[in-house]
């Protein structure tokens, strides 16, 4: 088998039996999921369904209780620390609220990883930041501002610039359009699609926003009560034939998903 055929067969990320509990509460209860290389996967699910915990497990921010996580066919939970660090170098992440460092100007935020790894000098980092900011539609002058001076949309763009500055081959997006107006949401989605395509990266997004899911995803999977209950093409969301997914995608009150109301 040639390398290309092998790469197409082996998923970029493979989760098997992933489980995580916090005290008595099971958040992930045996998640199985394959994410194709070079494609966009959108993970859907209600609040508390375990979407964020899933990507935090893949990123190494949370240690799962059971299961395996493979990237390029290698179990990352069993990897030596050095190899795990090298893998992290190939990963970018856009956090829901941007998670920009308040104490640093925008240009230093954007080039943080490159500076931390001494892949670039401070003198050259400003030019590099201007170049990456241009890719997300921001002027070079934004680089001198502090994150507190930016609007929500600009913070997302800077977060995106920071995620792609080191040219990762896997990028995670946590609720990329939350808190943005519909037009700005569409702009951010467009930028995500552009940069992911340009880098040839694998994108994993979690979102509640169906319009966003259809725009940025090739594939989609739905997480409910800690398990993957459906997977399929993102374009079919709302018309999948799966009552649970269709209820969620259409935002209907009545259906198989029952809201757990607390008195």
């Amino acid at each position: 088998m040639d390398t290309k055929a092998h790469n197409e067969m082996v998923p970029k990320i493979r989760l098997r039996g992933l489980a995580k509990a916090f005290g008595e509460k099971k958040v992930l209860d045996g998640v199985d999921l394959d994410i194709r290389a070079g494609h966009g996967m959108v993970i859907l699910g209600g609040s508390g369904s375990g979407k964020s915990v899933t990507i935090k497990c893949i990123l190494g921010l949370i240690q799962p209780d059971a299961g395996t996580i493979e990237v390029d066919g290698r179990d990352i939970l069993a990897m030596p620390r050095r190899e795990r660090d090298e893998l992290n170098d190939r990963i970018g992440m856009l956090f829901q609220n941007g998670a920009l460092f308040d104490s640093l100007p925008v240009w230093e935020n954007v080039c943080f990883k490159l500076l931390a790894q001494k892949r670039i000098t401070r003198a050259k980092a400003r030019d590099k930041a201007a170049e990456v900011l241009a890719q997300v539609g921001l002027a070079a002058s934004v680089g001198d501002l502090s994150p507190a001076e930016l609007s929500g949309g600009m913070q997302k763009r800077v977060g995106l610039a920071r995620a792609i500055a080191a040219q990762p081959d896997i990028i995670f997006f946590d609720e990329p359009t939350t808190g943005l107006d519909p037009i700005m949401g569409a702009v951010i989605d467009g930028l995500i699609v552009d940069v992911v395509k340009r880098l040839g990266a694998t994108a994993v997004s979690i979102t509640h926003d169906m319009a966003s899911a259809r725009r940025i995803g090739d594939d989609a999977a739905m997480l409910h009560k800690g398990k993957i209950v459906w997977r399929g093409p993102a374009a079919t969301l709302g018309d999948t034939g799966n009552a649970m997914v269709d209820q969620f995608a259409r935002g209907e009150r009545d259906g198989p998903i029952q809201m757990e109301l607390r008195r």
Binding site: L59, L61, M93, A99, F101, F112, A116
Partner: protein
């Protein structure tokens, strides 16, 4: 029976919880210190925190030290006058300031300023995912956030205590010469004659230990804060209260070590 056992169980749970916390803080400190000898080193961050602690705490430490020295001179004079021992005022002021009050007052002031600031900054970073972001950006949060602060605290506090010692003694001299009738030169001579190297050194060692404790508790409370603004507020309060108590408790332990006969 439950009436007897419930309070005992509650005490037991409290003790176990306290032991867990002490162990966790100790491991946190060891983890922070272990990065001192492993690259990469964040010299720029260390200098930033050093300036933040040593330079920007100078006014508050200077003012409290001067007033402490003034009050000490006044109080010891009125007390010693009852035994016709007014001449010992300079000796008492310099010993009290260098051995105890200089380090303790400076540390308590820095705990209020820096311990709170560190806990609030790191706590905010925790609840806004900035600490997770550091990890995803191939940066060890302990090495980046904690180690430079610990080192800056250990280095900065002795400097502040030297300033507090000098200004505290000057405060005593000011009151002694302007209000209590001491001759300027004889007051200073009595001060210098009575002072021993160990008095100053013990104060500086205490300062380093206090600097470590203040930055450690600030970092620990911030790093482990939960929830939103309320969690950060609770972490800030916990950092100041715990470091203040530890400063006073460790002051006794260190005094016992240095001066117990």
């Amino acid at each position: 029976m439950d009436l007897v056992l419930n309070p005992v169980a509650a005490v037991g749970r409290g003790v176990l919880s306290a032991c867990r916390t002490v162990g966790a803080v100790a491991l946190f400190a060891l983890q922070g210190l272990s990065h001192l000898v492993r690259p990469p080193f964040y010299g720029r961050l260390f200098l930033r925190h050093l300036v933040e602690i040593a330079y920007f705490s100078l006014p508050v430490v200077a003012l409290t030290a001067i007033f402490t020295g003034m009050v000490l001179a006044l109080q010891s004079y009125t007390g010693f006058a009852r035994f016709n021992a007014e001449g010992a005022v300079a000796n008492v002021v310099v010993l009290s300031i260098t051995r105890e009050l200089g380090p303790v007052i400076a540390a308590l002031m820095v705990a209020g300023r820096i311990g709170a600031a560190f806990a609030a900054e790191i706590g905010t970073m925790r609840v806004t995912d900035q600490i997770d972001a550091l990890t995803t950006l191939s940066t060890n949060p302990m090495k980046y956030l904690v180690t430079p602060r610990l080192l800056a605290g250990v280095v900065a506090l002795p400097f502040l205590v030297v300033v507090a010692d000098v200004l505290g003694v000057m405060g005593g001299w000011l009151i002694g010469t302007t209000k209590l009738g001491f001759a300027s030169l004889s007051y200073l001579k009595a001060t210098m004659d009575f002072l021993q190297t160990m008095d100053v050194v013990s104060g500086l060692v205490k300062a380093s230990v206090f600097g470590f404790v203040i930055t450690l508790m600030g970092c620990w409370c911030g790093y482990n804060s939960k929830g939103g603004a309320q969690g950060v507020g609770a972490a800030t309060t916990a950092a100041v209260v715990s470091s203040s108590i530890l400063i006073l408790a460790l002051d006794y332990v260190l005094t016992e070590m240095f001066f117990a006969r």
